[in-house]
């Protein structure tokens, strides 16, 4: 089975610019997650989707971050405007409601550098 696809792999932008990341989860996985991982730290959940709906976005900086999941499949995460502290790896993951005891499948991530 294909894994979780993310693009781009790397992105360098200047502060105050905008950027978007794309994620395609494993086919059939109802739940999709975006995590932010700052260098030297563990991943921190930004937002969780169940099909089309948001079930947890409590740690998403909503003044600059937004995310959507189209038709319960692909998802995009946007930052506008970016700040220096947004430099991190953005990880997308998906999981199945039926296989909740098998963990998440992560994509390779997008490494964002804000200069």
């Amino acid at each position: 089975e294909a894994g979780v696809a993310q693009s781009p792999r790397y992105k360098i932008i200047e502060k105050r610019q905008s950027v978007a990341f794309w994620c395609n989860p494993i086919s059939g996985h109802a739940t999709l997650y975006w995590y932010q991982q700052i260098l030297g730290q563990g991943p921190k959940l930004l937002i969780q989707f169940q099909n089309n709906g948001v079930v947890d976005d409590s740690q998403l900086p909503k003044d600059r971050f937004s995310a959507e999941r189209l038709k319960g499949v692909d998802s995009t995460l946007k930052i506008q405007p970016a700040k220096l502290e947004d430099s991190a790896v953005y990880l997308c993951a998906s999981s199945s409601l039926q296989d909740r005891n098998y963990g998440y499948t992560f994509g390779s991530g997008t490494r964002l550098t804000v200069v």
């Binding site: 030297g40 921190k44 959940l45």
Partner: protein, 112 residues
């Protein structure tokens, strides 16, 4: 906020030795999971242990869970250079949609 805290932060061993990493957490959990992350890559799920389980094995991995102490350990036996990576514990809570909360990780270096 981070639920799990791994110990040690870094561990350096020789090939063939065993590596033990510990994880402590704060609130009641549904399950605890361990993930591996190679440099610059995504996380790979290693093993999941439910709150009603005490020990689980998968190949060279052994995980224990002590819910009374709110702690878990990951043992990698007969380590190899390819085991060099960061290891994270993640906890899934009892309520809601069971979101995973990750610790800061243990960086393991296995030297040939």
């Amino acid at each position: 906020s981070q639920q799990g805290e791994e110990d040690p932060q870094a561990l350096s061993i020789q090939e063939g030795e065993n590596a033990t990493m510990n994880c402590s957490y704060k609130t009641s959990i549904n399950n605890l999971q361990w993930y591996r992350q190679n440099s610059g890559r995504g996380l790979v799920h290693l093993i999941l242990i439910r709150s009603n389980e005490r020990e689980k094995h998968s190949g060279r991995l052994r995980v224990t869970l002590d819910t009374s102490k709110k702690s878990s350990s990951l043992l990698i036996t007969a380590s190899r250079a390819a085991d060099t990576a960061s290891y994270f514990c993640a906890t899934a809570t009892l309520s809601g949609y069971s979101t995973l909360t990750f610790g800061k990780g243990t960086m393991l270096l296995v030297s040939p």
